[in-house]
């Protein structure tokens, strides 16, 4: 679209309140994690020695399409989300390309990257447990 703004921020009320699990829509699922000792699919109990129980559930769930984002995580997301969707007009002009280029910029938090999106969720479930 020609008229896109340079930067577009979703209204705060439109920040997603659920995460989406693409595995739910895959007909052929990713292969299961295997226990190296037995060569059989790894059990939740084995994974729970390493990860929090809630995260193990998410890890092994190939069927649930939507997971509610806990309220505390949603609150934390509001410190730095939504992240802007930028129309790269300057780059398009510099390249002289007819293509329309957009980028989703995840660098606007102190950690400097998208990694915080998952770190806060993992820390939340650790605290809860």
């Amino acid at each position: 679209m020609k008229g896109s703004p340079y930067k577009y921020y979703l209204p705060e009320q439109d920040i997603p309140t659920q995460w989406y699990n693409v595995r739910a829509d895959m007909k052929t699922k990713p292969a299961p994690l295997l226990d190296p000792a037995t060569g059989t699919p790894v059990s939740a109990a084995a994974l729970e020695k390493v990860f929090c129980a809630k995260l193990v559930e998410q890890e092994l769930d190939n069927d649930t399409p939507w997971f509610a984002i806990p309220r505390e995580v949603q609150d934390f997301y509001r410190m730095f989300r939504p992240s802007p969707l930028v129309r790269a007009y300057f780059l398009e002009n510099a390249l002289g390309t007819p293509a329309h280029i957009y980028y989703k910029f995840e660098g606007n938090n102190t950690s400097g990257s998208h990694k915080l999106n998952s770190a806060i969720a993992q820390a939340y479930y650790a605290k809860e447990q």
């Binding site: 896109s4 693409v22 052929t28 994690l33 910029f105």
Partner: protein, 308 residues
């Protein structure tokens, strides 16, 4: 930041070459309360073993994972927290794609191509998930492109096989595009993309032909990073700059063919902690290391024997 927010104790195993290349990254973590150990360290059994077998090694994500997992399972009250690869991380990162999808709808824009850099696959997976869902449900068509480093080309030159997720072989086996758990990539400057394997979900989507991948040389990536910084103003992380390079290549193809298309890419982060990398690019001393077929064959030979 996350641990400080929830008042949790945080111990970080940081790949040794990153620890040395990015001292300020380390100090940020310490400022927020984390203790940071360069990996491989002498504080875990697996770290000692790796140090003995590979004296002077710069480490790798695969080594650091082994150490962190060992520390988590041997210390009461600790759990392992990770930055990529596993499905739980992709799930959380879907926030990127969901926001993007909603914003594009509000703008009335339909993308043709969606591009992201791929280390362990979390940002790419998070960005493309909702769009891939549309494709899988038969609602839309998009091209998806994974941009990976030529120095660590899991998709473009790896094998789709069960492999260990970590060098110490303490984690479960995952079926993924892999260069072999023993493959230690050259000490390139995109530390976040130096991982031998890939998300199992993205691997399966790639195997099904639903995604493309390109492998990019480091100097080409930094040329794009510098061009982007000078045009768009943002100083991009080296990892993110792989997506920039792939986007520029795609946009120049459109130009050559006189074709309009809408490209969306993920700009995962800023590069303020990567100035050593930019320095070597600016000084003209940056090199491109691409593993030979023999290097990879040697690594593939050590893949665990699991029926596919």
């Amino acid at each position: 930041m996350a641990s400080a927010f929830f008042k949790l104790d945080c111990r970080v195993y940081m790949v040794k070459c990153s620890y040395e290349q990015k001292p300020f990254r380390r100090e940020v973590m310490r400022t927020y309360g984390a203790s940071v150990t360069p990996s491989p360290s002498m504080s875990t059994a697996i770290g000692k073993k790796i140090n003995a077998e590979h004296p002077g090694t710069t480490g790798s994500l695969g080594c650091a994972i082994s150490e962190a997992v060992e520390a988590a399972v041997t210390h009461e009250g600790y759990r392992y927290v990770l930055g990529s690869v596993l499905s739980q991380v992709l799930l959380h990162q879907s926030i990127i794609g969901l926001e993007t999808q909603t914003a594009l709808r509000q703008l009335g824009v339909k993308p043709d191509v969606i591009i992201g850099c791929a280390g362990g696959g979390s940002n790419l997976g998070g960005l493309i998930s909702p769009f891939m869902g549309e494709v899988l449900r038969g609602e839309a068509q998009y091209r998806f492109i994974a941009a990976e480093p030529a120095s660590c080309p899991s998709f473009t030159r790896g094998r789709y096989a069960y492999d260990f997720c970590d060098t110490g072989r303490v984690c479960p086996l995952q079926k993924m595009y892999t260069l072999g758990a023993d493959f230690i990539p050259s000490a390139s400057h995109a530390g976040g993309l130096r991982y031998h394997g890939m998300s199992a979900t993205l691997s399966e989507l790639y195997a099904q032909g639903l995604m493309e991948a390109v492998a990019l040389k480091q100097t080409d990536v930094f040329e794009a990073a510098q061009f982007f910084a000078r045009t768009e103003g943002i100083l991009p992380a080296p990892e993110s700059s792989h997506a920039i390079r792939a986007t520029i290549d795609e946009a120049l193809k459109c130009k050559a063919e006189g074709r309009t298309e809408t490209i969306v890419f993920g700009l995962t982060g800023t590069g303020y902690f990567d100035m050593t990398a930019y320095q070597s690019f600016n000084d003209g001393t940056m090199s491109d290391f691409v593993p030979s077929d023999e290097d990879l064959a040697a690594s593939f030979a050590k893949l665990p024997a699991i029926p596919a």
